[in-house]
Amino acid sequence: MVVDPSLAEPLALFVVETEGYARTANEVLLALERGEGDLAKRHQQLARLLHTLKGTAATFGLTGLAEAAHRMESAVDMAREAQSPLPAPLADALLKCLDGFVATVRACTAGREEPPFPPALLAALGSSRPRRASIPPPPPPTPSTGERKPAEAPELATWPVGADDIAGFTREIERLRDLHLRIDTRARELARILDGAEALLAAPKLRPLRGRLAELRSGLTADGEETFEAIAALENGVKRICTLPVRTVLDPLHRAVRDLCRGAGKRARLSIVGGDAVLDRRLLDALRGPLVQLVRNAVDHGVEPPEVRRAAAKDPEAQLVITVAQRGNLVLLEVADDGAGLDRAALGAVALGSGLVTRERLDAMTPAEIDRLVFYPGLSTRAEVSEVSGRGIGLDVVLGEVRNLDGSIDVATTPGQGTRFAIHIPMEIGSSWLLVVTAATGVYGVPLAGVETVVAARDEAMRVGRRHMSLEYQETLIPILDLGWLLGQRERKAPAAAQPLLIVQADGRRIALAVDQIVGEQDLVVRALPPELRALPEWQGAATLARGDFLLVLRPEWMVSQDARAEQVVTRRVLVVDDSVTARALHRSVLESGGYTVHGVPSGEGALAQLADAAYDAVISDVAMAPGELDGLELLARIRATSSLAHLPVILVSVSEERELRTRALALGADAYLTKKDCASGRLLGELAAVLSRRRAG
């Protein structure tokens, strides 16, 4: 029968619905086959699902599919009446029929003939339908505990949402965020104006106006807060739409394990730990294939036949465990089995025989390197090709797909005891708890998942040497690293008494990270940096703060890897003082090209603080600074008035070409005065070299 051409859009929705119903039906069938849970309820659930599929197919005029659903309903009648588990052959046939139902629905096209439902599947359904005598008796009822069961929640209607819709919602949320920022800015501007005009508005005639303006300010502030709440609610809503519990991808693996074991004459039970973790749907879709392959690999290669397991004093039923954990913006998925483990000798022999490695190379390989041979394409220890394995294709595809997600995969094995594959994948969507800290002039986020604890620096617990600093922590010594130094913003310095030290742990290593201040904890959405900056190893991403500012988020794995960072070759250090971020970047670019180590601060006060802590060879300072801050001339005067800094070379730089300003600067003790126009690369470096040279000679 031809599908009505006008039903194209509803048909697309039917495909999505059918896939959802079939997934649920799969789970119910597996539970009924195992005889798990409340069988009466499971049968009722299955009957409802099949009935819905039948009815909807009929609505579309898909008579073949409606008939197939009807036959499935009939097949389970007997077991449903008896409220008993499903025999394995019947469960097999029903599962295959469900697969066929989904495939046929997907193949339907509006305006074309309905594709035929595979008759072989219906035939198998008929032949596997048990006679009444072979239906196992229902399990004995469990005594009532007297507890009242909660009423079943009614099923809610669902609406499918496309990727374009999500992109549209996200754009609108960002527009709202910008709107909120504008409201916030205007409210603060109004508050500033009112405060500034307080004296004027105090006049009795203007009191009503003052009152009205104050009301406006309160109203604007309240509108800003309400907008912020609405944005947070919308963002949570989009996050709920875009993410799914990992369980949605993992639960169907129960079916895969069951089918593989039946085909191979093995027994295995799959357990899932952390299945309630919520991940981006796109990531889940991408992980589906690798997880199926790892599970198939575990059953086919790892799990031994029951008799072999019994002989090894193992439970004849193998255990497969999939574990999901989230660490900041990284998700960890582990697939572990308690089977035979990797056969290293066989792996090595195959690699040698295929020319992948030489004898010398193989002999030099560590066990971990031999284990990683499983990821090489074309490598298989199977003598024969089967439906499941033997072509050596599976694990190299897994490796490739994981790498496409910017992830990594490791393997660990113990002969005779089992194998574990661990996948690490970065996530784009998802919020993380961050510890917000300050260091030098910056504010940064440290994933709380990577922070073991926070301690206050105590002299008696620290060991400070010429090149290294260590903290005595839990009866071991761990390196102390200053965050400002790690980020190239100041020289390494020993923590002051009571300075906060974050015990950061990652990859099995720990450091004590010295920060200036702990601001607090926040749950924020961390997004990857722009593509151009993603290769920077220091940064996991950036979170958006309430005012729209970015909070850079550090990568714990990078921080702990810096514990062995060699002391840098000493170069001459220059402190650049300029309130313009672009000017500081330009100066840095020029000075680093001349081989100088450059630290930048945005204010005169910041410069004085930096100079109190570390030695610099020269200071280059802008003359004009932000209103209310020390300008370059005042900074110069303070430097010259400080005995320890009196002879520090200082070059002043300004956009102004006024001769008087130049004269004043030189009279105050500036070693040189340049206009920014003059700051061509050669001129600045030349001037600095000349100043340093004069100082040395003097």
Binding site: E226, R527, L529, D549, F550, T582, K676, C679
Partner: protein
């Protein structure tokens, strides 16, 4: 909460309004210097120190005040930081650092957001809001045939020496190297 579509913000004073009206009229009626049949390239022109640069207008997405740039410690020196633009993080580059331009008249206070061929956005710093100009195509075509890099050097009668950034490749491919 009702969200109204954004409207262009009106100038705050009569002088600015008059200037905008004049400019609008000029654009509507065209300039008198270019012959009607002469092909032109619309470009955004700005100065960096003593030099004048121009970028084809088709790549320009916005000119915004340089506020709230978040510096990225340990990034290459030509990376000033990231800025929020229409809800996304956009990399801000130092134009002078990338092109080796020496000296500047005022600290750059404007960010010009550019879109590359694959839809990627980056921002460059400018001393002032670029001016929209039309450049005659004939000298550009001649200069292109002789050029060796991304910049085409033009000598224009009313303007003088203009460096036309004909190829945005160096900006979008600026990572991993400095000036």
């Amino acid at each position: 909460m009702r969200i109204r579509p954004r409207r262009p913000e009106l100038p705050g004073n009569d002088a600015e309004a008059a200037l905008l009206r004049t400019r609008a009229a000029d654009l509507a009626h065209g300039t008198t210097e270019i012959e009607p049949e002469e092909e032109v390239l619309s470009a955004a022109m700005f100065s960096v120190g003593e030099e004048i640069y121009a970028i084809p207008l088709e790549h320009l997405r916005a000119a915004i005040p340089l506020t709230a740039v978040t510096p990225i410690p340990q990034a290459p020196p030509h990376v000033i930081g990231i800025v929020r633009f229409r809800g996304q993080a956009v990399t801000v580059l130092s134009f002078a650092a990338i092109f080796g331009v020496g000296g500047w008249r005022v600290d750059p206070g404007v960010l010009v957001v550019l879109e590359g061929p694959d839809g990627r956005l980056i921002a460059i710093d400018c001393e002032h809001i670029p001016r929209a100009v039309t450049l005659p195509l004939a000298p550009i075509a001649m200069a292109r045939s002789a050029r060796t890099g991304a910049v085409v050097e033009l000598a224009l009668p009313d303007i003088g020496r203009v460096m036309l950034l004909d190829d945005l490749g160096p900006l979008f491919g600026a990572f991993g190297r400095g000036a």
